[in-house]
Symmetry: C2
Subunit: 200 residues, 2 copies
Amino acid sequence: MSLLDLAKNRKSTRAFKKRPLPSPESILKSIEVALEAPSGLNCQPWFFLIVTKKELKKKIREYCENEEKSFHSIAPDYFKIWLKKKKISWKKPFLTDAPYLILVFSDMKCPYAIQSTWLSIGYLLLALEEKNIASLTYTPPNPAKLRNLLGINKRYSLQTIIPVGYPKKIKIKEKRKSIKEKVFLNAWKNPFILQNNKLQ
Amino acid sequence: MSLLDLAKNRKSTRAFKKRPLPSPESILKSIEVALEAPSGLNCQPWFFLIVTKKELKKKIREYCENEEKSFHSIAPDYFKIWLKKKKISWKKPFLTDAPYLILVFSDMKCPYAIQSTWLSIGYLLLALEEKNIASLTYTPPNPAKLRNLLGINKRYSLQTIIPVGYPKKIKIKEKRKSIKEKVFLNAWKNPFILQNNKLQ
């Protein structure tokens, strides 16, 4: 399958089947792809903590739902509207339903730590999709507090939680803007024209 | 080709042939992959400015080399050592040699703008590699000053410059750390064991 097809097929999934589980090998193979990403000074700032333990997933979910409740009450209006439209509440069942959570950390001593880590997350999401594994990048409010709760040194910043597994139902992918809105040629807002295999 | 092979093949390239040029269609098709990435609130914060004009590439190179000269003089020692080891000087010939520069911007009004944009850059690099096109993520010192020079509103933050084209010579990929150093199970630094298709 071409990368364009893979990328087009991949959707953020918020509801996971508890079973069947993707094979652990497929999860590790996907992370292996992420480990090949480039990074500032080749520092490889990323760390992946796979969570499979029921108790630990429950603890993470409790923390996140508490934070979400506070956040939802003070969120800016445009955010509240978006959440309502998408039927996203403070409840995060995917944090216990998904068979695996992959917590991604970034070593803040590395140059361009956050940028490099998210680049590798791009690799990871596509690699999961290649194996028909659904995923979501979910970042709780106050990730630093969760990192502390997990007893992890503040040098390692929690970037996101990626629940992975099989989706409960097939979703329609959210619309993307057209290439003409997002790609310019030689000057800001200057549209490109492709003619006779030339850009002008 | 599997994504793992693609990711393993992909190397950061710092020396480009002036000719032949990758087809403009292959560049656009690669960016199309990046446009499919997920983003906070599906805000799609990314913008891609393709630079092909000789004069503009020259201007960008001049700016970057000037900034690099100042930066190299004040860089921390570990950085200087790394640069020397990699034979990286303040000179950036790839900024004029590469047939295309893709400047990537992030709309700072979007939530998780930087994270989402770098995730999409992960998509882009793999998509370029799929078409055998070499790339580099090069971020100049003071990218905000370059953005101003290009007359672009400060709402759009310049994240990186990606020169793309064909490499002058085949490079060996920089070593990556092993999966055991980067992946833990259920607790920080707790190594995973894969046995009988089970993680423990």
